[in-house]
Subunit: 316 residues, 2 copies
């Protein structure tokens, strides 16, 4: 099966308006008038960002959703995406069929059609790069650099589930009931991009998605904004599964607070906008503190300064 | 050096307007009013699309230029690009410094600034994916599917040099003078995107860049347009170096006509637009025939039907 046949069979059916049926080397779009473009790219490598034997549809979903999560954190509406896929020999037609099904299902669910991309072979691990495009009302995207002292800090959903799920995948962690285990495993395998939060984020001053651990990502946002603050882990929303873990293994809190793959949204909201933000939020959001001046500090579940070995997960 | 430090040191200096200093997860652009967006993505893998020991600046240039070539073939003006970079351990700071220099030099030369991207590590070969954005006057991009019988076919520059250069890299080919060798090697190493041809392409009906060999790419364009034609190799522009090769090794013509990496532009131009197209072209363009009906045929240098082993280079 050559590249053109592969594209025609597996990916052309997913092409949206502007994708030209994947028959050209480009996508052609008329940008919605009066909107700004938001563009983001994320790469995933088998064995680094996911397990190579993960279900192909879950790999596809993760690759798209980590990008949608970046759009969500800017309050953007998805427009479409391009996929660059470097395929090892072992990813054959059966693999591609399930991968494309998963990709197509997500593209429909999130209203983000395939616009183009490239498919090449690699002697190395499966490597995916997705570039997602979205639109936002001009001037309304909450940037990472815009937090100000006094803003209230919010986070969506619950924190740390995916990082704990990864530990379970690695054979680590305490004994948990099957349903709690499955919850954590699924949170690792299939992130949920918080696009439903986009309208609420028009009320935020700064925001980013939490992909490299809450402690480290909050530190990044505060540093980029030239401000400080306190992350009090007693205020952070944790799932029942995470709390069950902490009850048996106190070290779980560090994994949850500094591990990656949450794909929740962290937002700094001016206090006078907080009611509007909370009212517009259609997914759970929790106030976890406020932006301050000076340094950044993390308090553990006892209220004492946390002594974590690492600040944020870093790829290097 | 963690990911943030790496981005701040090597890539943030290349960020253009909208790139937010690479301090956010996204780029934010106000699309030029009254223009359509052209978006394209191409991936390159070390050992597949380039030699891993190629100069890092040449690798950067190739990764960007193959995308700019796609924009050029649609008559587009570059807006910017995102880079996903999967780095093996051996690509250290010295490598990155030269890579970023090459990328920055090209970004300036072609007016296509860095807008964002992602940097991850890989246990496999160096893998790059670039998504390039450009703009074009609405309705004026010449699509691959739009050629009509009677259109004249043009190609820019000379054909086959890069494919012959690759043969030289592989230790093959006849004995050539150092200057002819160097010319072919450089044509392989550093493609020249034909952005200067963009204004002329407003007069074309269909166009694509020649990346997988002229014979195969022309066949693709004609098939996608539902038309046929003849590629008479006696009409195709070949460089002095290619002709010197053919004089010693007649098999060179097949490599030149079916090999890849030309990054020239192939265009189908209505005859009544041909004079305007030629007048607007600021790089050499050569008329190589006309679009016909029915089948597609290649004639060799003797005027007989060519018997080539392969139609187009395919990655699968």
């Amino acid at each position: 099966m050559n590249e053109d046949d592969l594209i025609a069979r597996f990916f052309a059916p997913l092409a949206g308006p502007g994708g030209l049926g994947l028959k050209d080397d480009v996508a052609l779009l008329t940008p919605p008038p009066g909107r700004d473009l938001v563009v983001t790219a994320d790469a995933l490598v088998a064995g680094v960002h996911f397990f190579s034997h993960d279900p192909p549809d879950a790999i596809a979903a993760k690759a798209l959703r980590v990008n949608l999560s970046d759009l969500a954190a800017k309050g953007a509406t998805p427009l479409g995406f391009l996929l660059s896929l470097a395929l090892p020999r072992e990813a054959g037609e059966a693999w591609l069929e399930v991968f494309a099904q998963g990709l197509g299902a997500d593209a429909r669910t999130y209203g983000c059609p395939l616009l183009g991309g490239d498919t090449v072979k690699t002697p190395g691990p499966l490597t995916l790069s997705i570039t997602a495009l979205g639109t936002v009302e001009p001037g309304r995207a909450p940037l990472r650099t815009a937090a100000r002292a006094g803003d209230w800090l919010y986070v969506s959903g619950t924190i740390g589930d995916a990082a704990l799920g990864l530990q379970l995948r690695l054979g680590k962690g305490p004994s948990l009931s099957p349903s709690l285990r499955d919850f954590l495993l699924e949170r690792y395998l299939r992130p949920q991009p918080r696009l439903a939060l986009s309208p609420a984020l028009a009320h935020a001053r700064a925001a980013m998605d939490v992909s490299d651990g809450l402690a480290g990502d909050l530190a990044k946002m505060l540093r980029a904004s030239g401000v400080g603050g306190v992350l009090d882990l007693r205020e952070v929303p944790f799932s029942d599964a995470a709390r069950a873990w902490f009850a048996q293994d106190a070290g779980g809190i560090e994994i949850a607070a500094t591990g990656g793959d949450d794909y929740e949204v962290l937002a700094a909201v001016p206090p006078e906008q907080a009611a509007a933000f909370e009212a517009a939020a259609t997914v759970p959001v929790t106030r976890i503190g406020a932006v301050g001046e000076g340094t950044f500090e993390v308090l553990d579940l006892s209220g004492a300064p946390a002594r974590f070995a690492r600040g944020a997960y870093s790829h290097f």
